[in-house]
Symmetry: C2
């Protein structure tokens, strides 16, 4: 039934909050606050720019979100610090179970489907050795729109050559789960932060605490 798997990257395979330590080094005492607001604004800007028809790539969105975050928190926008924090996005920590879980999903085609542009996702995938387990790395940048626009999810169908209902889309982000389910994927939600489901009119097909648990559920189905 499940012929291929597309994984969201940020928050799902890689811990976006792992930048907190670096934030705290650059702005002592403010690491947690920066990390949280930075992520929130990064997502907001991706949605708003897509709605406005003013696409810029995710690297640009991420830097804009960081600059806003520093301003809102009343912290100085030192260019050296900004450069250091942006660089930390290329060194996010991979969740510990990811490599083992990839094997559990077997020989099925596997891809990353991310908002991130290739310049920011490929170094991360290579550094963490995940490239050996993936058939492709697909970016919203190819269509110049961000999730939850259907054109982004369609990339996985087109590149993997698998019908949407036979594709398992995996994300830890509730809003991404909703977008993917509305598109028509079979969807697995990694509820890593123990949150309630988003009230967007659709529900995930599988819910698990991490990727290994999800693999077990899918194999047992």
């Amino acid at each position: 039934m499940i012929e291929g798997i597309a994984f969201d990257a940020y928050g799902t395979l890689y811990d976006v909050y792992s930048v907190e330590r670096k934030c705290d080094e650059e702005y002592p005492g403010s690491g947690a606050g920066i990390s949280r607001l930075w992520r929130q604004k990064q997502l907001e800007y991706s949605w708003l720019r897509t709605l406005m028809g003013r696409y810029v790539d995710f690297w640009h969105v991420t830097e804009d979100a960081l600059r806003y975050t520093l301003a809102e928190l009343g912290l100085p926008a030192d260019e050296g610090k900004i450069e250091a924090l942006m660089a930390s996005y290329l060194e996010l920590e991979m969740y510990p179970e990811v490599i083992e879980a990839m094997a559990r999903f077997g020989a099925r085609k596997k891809a990353i489907l991310t908002n991130g542009n290739l310049r920011m996702i490929e170094p991360l995938v290579t550094r963490t050795g995940l490239d050996e387990h993936l058939d492709s790395c697909l970016s919203a940048d190819e269509v110049g729109l961000f999730k939850t626009r259907p054109e982004v999810y369609q990339l996985a169908v087109d590149h993997l050559g698998i019908a949407r209902e036979h594709l398992l889309f995996v994300s830890s982000n509730g809003w991404d789960v909703a977008g993917a389910k509305a598109f028509g994927f079979t969807v697995g939600w990694l509820n890593r932060r123990n949150l309630p489901p988003e009230e967007l009119g659709v529900r995930a097909d599988y819910v698990a605490g991490n990727l290994l648990e999800l693999a077990e559920q899918v194999e047992g189905a």
Copy 2:
């Protein structure tokens, strides 16, 4: 130069955080937390549903956001409480300077341009006596999309019959300011909460702390 004015409603003319007291009555001690998260999720859901192509009206979005908020905060979703809190959205407080400021803007055409559907915005406008100062009340519901989609801002051009650059759009919401400016309006930002501008590649033409200050700036320009 400015031939007409379109006002955002929620946060701009009406204080969305004025529901806090009612939230605190229904869920003692949690009023501020509910009020903040409810507003954030309301906006997120309006953006995500538009991106997903799954429009429901703003009343529906607002109730969904409330249900999510209660779940995330671990509060019981009592139907009576939800009904009471939703009703408070029809009784938001108008900012104190609004009526006086309307006169300062003179005989120009004036409209509300809101995400809210008419069923939720019209009772508020009537109750607060603002209807006597407005030519029309325009809702995103007419196009089945939410801001920052250009089709929503276009409603003001079409209904008021004024070119976008001769229309002053007024909002307290930084993301709405960005959307309106990207669309091509002349834009006044009521920076009621003393926030930095959103990093979305555009800036407001006027920035003021409240609507009276904005009227003075526009008349002095």
